[in-house]
Amino acid sequence: LLIGLGSFLKLGVPGQAAVLLLGGVLIGAGTRMSGGCTSGHAITGISSLQWPSLAATMVFFAVAMGLSFLLNFWRA
């Protein structure tokens, strides 16, 4: 059952579920607002040379890496 940040933070099952639900809301809203996700923007978008997709990919990678490093730093 090692999925989601909740398992990393050693939250119980209800805590993990809440983290996943909240993260899912961010994914759903962000994808709709931006017009694509990893497959839509990063894979399909970049392969068909759509520049907005390249920009969106750079932004979501940068934000995800930033948050991961921040949480990792805070956890350590």
Binding site: A17, L22, L26, G35, G40, T44, A55, L67, N72
Partner: protein, 144 residues
């Protein structure tokens, strides 16, 4: 309802590959963001390297499978939501360790807790639609 078998086949193949590539593991995604394990960059890069000539060829052929008319690829537009939306997506991606595709694959792998991620994605999408209709006047880009 008619079942379109190529869609079922390629959908299953996509799920299988995502699972085998390790893209459904929070650990692997987290290690990718922390630059500890770079293999998922290879997976994404590999997908782009295969898709790029494939899409180019499909455009040149002006047909794909049974569709015999010229294929129209929607051009992506920059909207006021392209980058803020990508930022929201990035936060959710780092927190859950999945994006919409792998979330469903996780359920298929038997991690029933991923149903919360899937439910969140549907909820967030619906919520954004409601908020957008009230708050913004620009037209969002197609999602695909």
């Amino acid at each position: 309802m008619r079942v379109h078998w190529p869609t079922v086949f390629f959908g299953a193949l996509f799920g299988f590959i995502i699972s085998r590539a390790g893209a459904t593991s929070f650990q692997a995604i987290n290690d990718m963001f922390l630059l500890r394990d770079l293999h998922l960059y290879g997976v994404i890069g590999g997908a782009i390297a295969v898709a790029m000539p494939g899409l180019w060829w499909m455009k040149r052929q002006k047909r794909a499978g049974r569709i015999k008319r010229p294929l129209k690829f929607a051009s992506r537009r920059f909207t006021p939501g392209t980058l803020p939306g990508a930022a929201l997506f990035g936060l959710g991606w780092a927190v859950t360790g999945t994006c919409p595709g792998p979330a469903i694959v996780q359920v298929g792998e038997g991690h029933l807790i991923a149903l919360f991620t899937v439910a969140g994605i549907f909820l967030g999408n619906w919520l954004y639609g409601r908020i957008h209709a009230r708050a913004f006047s620009w037209i969002p880009d197609i999602c695909g």
